[in-house]
């Protein structure tokens, strides 16, 4: 077989004339991380809100929370990207739609919103499961102490429930990094798209994809060890949750 390896390709100039191929890959990595982190913040805030709604006594709020989860879980991420990017501006009033389309970083903003909503549904499922995993006595005791519903959640249920679900949240965080690659379909030049561009211009297919693969593995390992450190710091002695009671 005739594949010509050329590992020096990374130090050659890319077609943009100012950056080497390695620098274009690192720029892509920058977009991947920026997208994943911004979307993660959004997913956490929305996911906790929706997850809490799924455990509230009010039926309407519970139904709303369930509808949110089903909506974002049952449509492929790619299709959700297209809905946010191509369809939403068409459905909005014309001036607003045009403003959206003209945003300078439209693919980035769209990718963050899309991934944020998509992942929030998964976070919400975990949050609700974490709260339900606490013994009912916790909620009753908090109410008996005279805490209001907001305080019950803020001071008792969430601090304990979130600690229980840190490991599944870790894998959702790793997922959001990987899922950000779907944003290349709406024109975000993140890591996978940079590798693809490098392959198209340089014809060094396997060098480009090997480099991207290695970078993803490294980012994964880094994120994993950061989350493990967080899990250790957050562990409450005697709270049972992460303490390996199972």
């Amino acid at each position: 077989m005739h594949y010509h390896w050329n590992w020096h390709i990374f130090w050659q100039m890319s077609p943009d004339g100012t950056h080497t191929y390695l620098e274009t890959l690192l720029a892509g990595l920058g977009w991947t991380i920026a997208t994943a982190l911004s979307a993660w913040v959004m997913a956490l805030i929305l996911g906790i809100a929706v997850g809490v709604a799924r455990t509230l006594p009010q039926r309407a709020l519970r139904a709303l929370g369930n509808a949110w989860v089903e909506l974002f879980r049952n449509i492929p991420l790619l299709v959700q990207m297209f809905l946010w990017f191509f369809v939403l501006p068409e459905l909005l009033p014309t001036p607003l739609g045009d403003w959206l389309k003209a945003l300078p970083e439209a693919p980035f903003v769209t990718a963050v919103v899309c991934l944020g909503c998509f992942t929030s549904a998964r976070v919400a499922v975990q949050v609700a499961a974490g709260i339900e995993a606490l013994s009912g006595g916790q909620r009753l005791a908090a109410v008996a102490l005279g805490l209001r519903l907001g305080q019950v959640y803020r001071l008792v249920l969430l601090p304990l429930g979130l600690r229980i679900i840190l490991p599944p949240l870790t894998s959702e965080f790793l997922n959001i990094i990987k899922n950000s690659s779907v944003a290349l379909t709406i024109g975000l030049v993140e890591l996978t798209a940079s590798a693809r561009a490098m392959q198209e211009f340089s014809f060094q297919v396997f060098e480009a994809f090997s480099a991207a693969t290695l970078i993803y593995v490294a980012v994964n390992l880094l994120a994993l060890s950061l989350m493990r450190a967080l899990e250790r710091r957050a562990a409450l002695p005697g709270a049972g949750a992460g303490a390996g009671a199972a």
Binding site: N74, L83, T213
Partner: protein
Amino acid sequence: MFAGFDVDVIARSWPYLLRVGMVFTLQLTALAMLGGVVLGTVLALMRTSRIRPLALAAGAYVNLVRSVPLVLVIFWFYFLVPYIAAWAIGADEPVRVGAFWSALVTFTLFEAAYYCEIMRSGIASVPRAQAWAAQALGMDYRQTMRHVVLPQAFRNMIPLLLTQTIVLFQDVSLVYVLSIPDFVGAASKVAQRDGRLAEMYLFVAVVYFVLCYALSRLVERLQHRVYR
């Protein structure tokens, strides 16, 4: 807001979308599931095996695949499969491989890593005493796995395997990046030809939602029956 909405484009194109696009998506899902479950089970047996090199190799494969995005894997195999095929049949030049086969290899190998983890917990869910009892009856490793452990592992994991298959069904949409006419790809072709992005993508979303929602409800009912 739906004033300029053209329902007609859906009425005109849905037979094409279903007959070409959805059939491709369903075929790819079904075959990749079969291949993925078989390969995933083999990987799970390797990971739980006492032969350390086998366990390490399977573990490395699963962890590598699970830390890379599917889109990148699709690109990898799109370029790699022609070389693998050339190597397999001893050809000098990379062999042209159809988009369907390239996608099938990709999804089988990719999803196998995820099915492997499910089967591994399935094997772990069968009490150890079952394997000991089988050995006491004189069964060897193969017989123990085939007649005692794996059938129970499968049964316990059916809901999870099906849930992963719903994920696979949604993931197949990503072959869009290779311009293959799966369900999304076919819709996107019509959408761009007729300038009707909003209508087509909303239609695609509704179809996926209905199918996946119905399937996940079904899996939930099955779950109650399996874990009585």
